[in-house]
Amino acid sequence: MHTFAELIIVFVILLDLALAVTGSLSSCIRLVAVQGVVAGILPLLAGSGTPHARTAAFAAFIILLKGVVFPWLLTRARDRSGARKDVEPLITYPASIMLCLGAFIASSWLGSRLPLPETNVAWIVPASLATIFTGFLLITTRSKAITQVLGYLVIENGIYIFGLALFVEQPLMVELAILLDVFVAVFVMGIAIFHISREFDHIDTAELSELSDWRRGEYGK
């Protein structure tokens, strides 16, 4: 079982790399969905012995949310906004990969500094941190509002990989509340993207930089 779990971890990391180089928006949405599903499977494998019924139900819920609902919401938002098909990175793909690899290295170093007690799965911390940083990479180096939501979801996935693998015992209410938040967040962001596409001609966030304090050219004289 643990070997399988570790395989999944490797898979997650590979998905991170794939996200870093994918140019098509719809592939990106799909990759994030796949990552969410994989993250949802993880708790089933992480526990010792047969998973609890509650855990199973919870995992199913997560898979449903991340694998079905979110992709649907995002696709809809993308279609409504009439965005172009590619993600329009602000840096080149090789650079993205290099940054991604750098994030992995940093994550594994951090993981070595943070040994988890009672770990049953190796590489949990590095994989989780790497995914979080990949999410940040998507947010910071892609120009569209929708890719930023995707990045947010990747961050969320990274956190889940860590959280769900470890804390199957948490009170249900808390987890539900957390999930609800994420759901609403995505929902609200979807609405915001809709408004953005209506107010501005497209959802390129370059348009969204009117609010600034930069006093260009007013200094050094």
């Binding site: 602000l90 940093a106 170093w109 951090l110 500094r113 943070l114 940083f133 940040f136 947010i139 910071t140 180096t141 892609r142 120009s143 930023q148 966030t205 370059a206 969204l208 930089s209 009117e210 609010l211 600034s212 304090d213 930069w214 006093r215 260009r216 007013e218 200094y219 050094g220 004289k221």
Partner: protein, 655 residues
């Protein structure tokens, strides 16, 4: 003690009442002025009693704010500062009623009176507080109230600039004081003055510097004076009188108080004060000479006088460091006496300037002239005040400076270091005195003497009775203090003892009586001789034949008022000589033709230190801030990058 607290309450209550009547100017005036006068009478009685008794009264009540307690202390030092506060604010209130009358309807007089009385209450609080939080409360209240008064005519850009500089200086000063008090009270749960323990050497020096900066910003010695020449002219004249006469003395008071907390003084503190004082008194007088506006002249003269006081304190401290206690006692007594005297004559002068402003509508020296004929009594009083400011006997300004000089001469025949301090102090006083005489002769001459230079000056009207009453009272006090100097012995000695330490008080009791007696003897002799000369002139020699003719003027046929020596031309030989320091800006006509047409000429005294130091520094800081403004460029991606990079950095650094 209770009387003083009562006067604070009375002042605050009358402030509220004045504010309440803000729609009815005359009632607001009454509420403010009666409150101020009554509170002054109460407080004056209490302060004089304390001075006579020479002992301290304290009162301490718990207070629920952190570090605070409602501790008050009325000792001779406080009382010596309080006497001029009450005297001057009471008289200024009387004057203010007359002065503000013409503003009724156009300016919020209720607010002005509320601010004035709050300012007074805050000053009383500052002089009696014995807890740092309470002290700072009074301190900042004072700043806020006077700030509002500086902005009385806020439709003038000049006033707004003054208000800004004043507020910024006050804010910076208060922060330094907070730090100084925090260090002083490092070990005690409450910041009561009584609980301050003597700090160690380095800490003491740090506190000294902080206090010097904090209190110096209020006292206004050079180079911390920049707010003063802006704010004093902007405020209504009775307020300028109070600000210049007593408010800036809170800085001196605070400095003296903190010096006592600091325990054994280090010699370089004394030298620092001495240097600051010498520079301030000489440059203050020099700048005063170059100003074109009457109230600005007076403001710079205040800087000069603060310099004299500071130099005296510094001289005393250097002397004390060499165990020259008698010298120190003389210098300290001189400093305190000058504090008192300056408040009287500077109050008088500002009221005189206010009468000019009130009567002629302007205080620009080159637009005045000949006012002595329109307002002879104001001219008399102003000239008396000017003579006092130049420390000319028989006026009171001489008394304090004389003690300082005497201290300086005691030092000159002592150890070389003390001798050097004495020479520096004395020389600065002498130079400043000569410059001040030039500045005041110029100011009085340009404003009151000769022929009016403009229509406005020609149409000036005299001040009303209330204004004159206050000025007469101050003028009489100026004379009386010098003539009755020995009466000041007990207050001075006990204040020196309370303010600087009992040893100096004892030394002062030995050293001060003689000079005070001689000052008064000299003044009386002078007055008697002058009286005889005047009487003889009148009784023995032919009476005057007043001809209705213009001044002979060496036979020049058609003199005009513009041909008189004006303020600029009077000062020109000196200001030209000191141009490297003054850096006055001028436009001079170039005469190229044989029959030149109309030409104009102008000079402008610039605020040298402000323009050379503070304004460029502010521009630098603003430029720096603009450079960093790039950080908030509006790009979301980079904003999030800040978060990631910081997080990553923290993780790598801290784990």
């Amino acid at each position: 003690m209770l009387l003083v607290l009562l006067s604070i309450i009375l002042l605050l209550a009358s402030s509220a009442l004045a504010l309440f009547f803000s729609r009815e100017p005359s009632r607001a005036q009454d509420a403010g002025a009666y409150g101020a006068v009554a509170a002054s009478a109460l407080g004056l009685w209490a302060a004089v009693r304390t001075l006579a008794a020479g002992s301290a009264e304290t009162l301490s009540l718990p207070w629920s704010v952190p570090l605070g307690s409602l501790s008050f202390c009325l000792d001779p030092l406080s009382a010596l500062f309080l006497v001029p506060v009450f005297l001057l604010t009471g008289l200024a209130a009387v004057y203010g009623v007359g002065y503000l009358r013409s503003y009724a309807g156009s300016k919020p007089l209720g607010l002005a009176w509320a601010a004035f009385n709050t300012l007074t209450a805050a000053m009383v609080l500052v002089f009696t507080a014995a807890n740092a939080v309470l002290f700072l409360l009074g301190w900042e209240l004072m700043a806020a109230a006077s700030f509002l008064l500086v902005l009385f005519e806020h439709d003038k850009a000049q006033s707004r600039k003054a208000g800004f500089i004043y507020l910024a200086a006050g804010g910076a000063g208060a922060l330094l004081l907070m730090a100084a008090f925090a260090l002083l009270g490092a070990g005690s749960p409450l910041l009561d003055f009584a609980s301050f323990r003597t700090p160690s050497g380095t800490a003491a020096s740090a506190i000294f510097l902080l206090a010097l900066g904090g209190f110096g910003l209020k006292a206004g010695f050079i180079p911390l004076h920049v707010w003063l020449p802006e704010a004093h002219p902007a405020a209504p004249s009775h307020v300028s009188a109070v600000m210049s006469g007593v408010m800036i003395k809170t800085g001196i008071y605070g400095l003296i108080r903190v010096l006592v907390f600091l325990g054994p003084w280090q010699e370089w503190w004394g030298w620092t004060l001495l240097a600051a004082g010498c520079v301030s008194c000489v440059l203050g007088a020099l700048f005063a000479l170059a100003q074109h506006e009457l109230k600005r002249v007076l403001a710079y003269s205040s800087i000069e006088n603060i310099g004299i006081i500071l130099a005296a304190v510094g001289l005393g401290m250097v002397g004390a460091a060499h165990n020259a206690d008698r010298l120190a006692a003389l210098a300290f007594a001189g400093a305190l006496l000058h504090v008192f005297n300056h408040s009287l004559f500077k109050g008088l002068l500002f009221m005189g300037a206010g009468a000019v402003l009130h009567g002629a509508g302007t205080a620009e020296l080159d637009a005045l002239g000949g006012l002595a004929k329109k307002m002879p009594r104001t001219a008399l009083l102003f000239i008396a005040g000017a003579a006092s400011a130049c420390a000319l006997p028989p006026f009171n300004g001489f008394a304090g400076e004389f003690l300082v000089y005497l201290g300086a001469f005691k030092g000159i025949s002592s150890y070389p270091a003390v001798a050097l301090a004495g020479v520096l102090a004395g020389l600065s006083l002498a130079v400043a005195g000569a410059l001040a005489a030039a500045a005041f002769a110029r100011a009085a001459g340009a404003a009151f003497l000769g022929e009016p230079r403009t229509e406005r000056a020609a149409a000036a009207h005299p001040p009303d009775g209330l204004m004159l009453f206050s000025m007469y009272a101050l003028g009489a006090l100026c004379l009386a203090v010098c003539a009755a100097a020995p009466l000041l012995l007990v207050p001075l000695v006990s204040a020196v003892g309370a303010g600087f330490g009992g040893g100096f008080g004892a030394a002062a009791a030995l050293e001060v009586p003689g000079p005070l007696v001689y000052i008064s003897a000299g003044a009386l002799l002078l007055a008697a001789v002058a009286a005889i000369a005047a009487v003889k002139r009148r009784s023995m020699f032919p009476a005057a034949r007043t001809a209705d003719v213009p001044t002979w003027d060496c036979g020049y046929a058609a003199p005009t008022a513009r041909m008189q020596y004006g303020a600029s031309s009077f000062a020109q030989p000196l200001t030209d000589f000191f141009q490297p320091v003054l850096r006055k800006l001028g436009q001079y006509p170039v005469i190229a033709e044989y029959f030149p047409g109309k030409a104009s000429f102008s000079t402008e005294a610039q605020a040298v230190v402000y323009n050379a130091v503070y304004a460029p520094a502010a521009a630098r800081i603003r430029d720096l801030a603009y450079r960093f403004s790039w950080l908030q460029h509006g790009r979301l991606q980079i904003y999030i990058m800040y978060i990631v990079v910081t997080l990553l950095g923290l993780l790598l650094w801290k784990l």
